[in-house]
Symmetry: C2
Subunit: 240 residues, 2 copies
DNA sequence: CTAACTTCGTGATGCAGATCACAGGTGATT
DNA sequence: AATCACCTGTGATCTGCATCACGAAGTTAG
């Protein structure tokens, strides 16, 4: 089959191997069958925009492969990256359910495979399949939960250093590296983007990293970051 | 019937007059009947705590009367008020759906009437009533939407003045006063609480109000605030 | 009607971090 | 190897606001 942007496209959800690990995708057979009928399997290159904040909801995007940057943006161009979505997440869900405009902008940062479902089709699907509807509620709860974490991090931390430390710890816990004494993680983002994630300026991020290195708390090798002193980092993250 | 804390308790959802105006409550007859069977109508005095951030979810709280303060709190005691919930909202919903701990603390700021539903009962109810399940998804979308607004306000505004202006405009739009040239609104919160809503210090709020008054943008009469210059306020809210 | 709180108003001070400005790195592209 | 575009590092400066500190003005209670 054709494979644009260097992706191995999983054509059908019915035969998808990773389905069972994913909260939303792991539907009972009838629902899955119905979903199969209304979805459009699509592929996007890196840097494609799935939807823009403020647009009327066209439908949902189930992310199968690749990562997507979710951000909000102020009138004067300042950007805040809310999260980096991973495969298995459903994007544009809340807007499609409520009918309100998308509240975020979604932009791919890898080549991505996405299953798109038109809003009307999706709503009909939800009416017919109660079990899927509950999955949606679960997904939305997850999203709400994540948003609350974001609010907490933005609203309750005093310093930029604290937020950076929180972010690094969070990242390290995602790679199964959390248990290790000295977790490693790939820094796939630029300082600029990290700054946008914690709501600060690029220069501050650079300075903070320099400081962490000087204090032997982290160490970088190319684009991998090694956390040498996890307890110290945790101190910075929790305290002030 | 008994009427604690000076409330007129609406005993049954079936005869509730305000039901139709409320997103979640306006259920089709069978679901409503079932809901009636699992809910506990309860009343709380002002200052009661419905649930605390971090607790395992016991169930949902449908707010019938009164207002509830939703906040998150850091280890060092700093508090951020996320929102003031109004009648019709369902509290503790996302935690009850996902099974994760409550992400907020809910505290009444008026005498309140609340319908409580135990988590297991609620989940069973959702399985049996697909239409209610969709309502839940809608509610969660609302909540997610609100959380996104919060994130935006916290993460993208440069100054405390901007956030205060946003808050005042938002409040004025809730009372049907938005259309008027000079909307009035009751300031039911102290400067301290307002500060906790916009993530700043009490003194700053006082100073900002003083400044707005000096510039003839607002004017206060006792606990009512009159917005004299809406365009100026909007300038402050959007720009910097 | 005074005491005891709570909330509000305002000055003085200090610091975190935004912003500007520029220099050195790094990797692609040709 | 040379150009370009984009990152990273670092100094200098400037400001918004947190924090401390205290006194005035409301509010509740005895």
């Amino acid at each position: 089959m054709i494979s644009p942007y260097g992706l191995d496209i999983v054509e059908s959800c019915l035969t998808c191997k990773t389905r069972s690990e994913r909260l939303f995708c792991d539907l009972p057979a009838p629902a899955l069958q119905a979903f199969e009928g209304i979805k459009y399997a699509t592929a996007y290159p890196k840097g494609a925009v799935l939807f823009v904040e403020g647009q009327a909801p066209r439908g949902i995007f189930v992310l199968c492969k690749g990562r997507v940057k979710l951000s909000i943006c102020s009138t004067d161009g300042k950007t805040l990256i809310v999260k980096i979505a991973e495969p298995g997440e459903v994007l544009g869900l809340s807007a499609s359910v409520s009918g309100k405009p998308y509240e975020l902008t979604a932009e791919t940062i890898d080549p991505c495979q996405v299953n798109f479902v038109k809003r009307e089709d999706f709503l009909r699907f939800l009416r017919d399949h109660a079990d899927a509807c509950f999955r949606v509620a679960e997904q939305l709860s997850e999203k709400y939960n994540a948003a609350c974490h974001e609010v907490r991090s933005l609203g309750l931390s005093h310093s930029a250093g604290e937020k950076l430390a929180k972010l690094l710890l969070e990242w390290s816990s995602k790679n199964g590296e959390a248990t290790k004494m000295e977790p490693r993680l790939k820094l796939a983002l630029t300082h600029e983007e990290i700054a946008q994630m914690i709501g600060t300026s690029r220069e501050t991020v650079t300075r903070l990293f320099a400081d962490l290195k000087k204090r032997q708390i982290v160490q970088s090798k190319g684009s991998t970051l090694i956390i040498r002193n996890k307890t110290a980092l945790r101190m910075i993250a929790t305290n002030n």
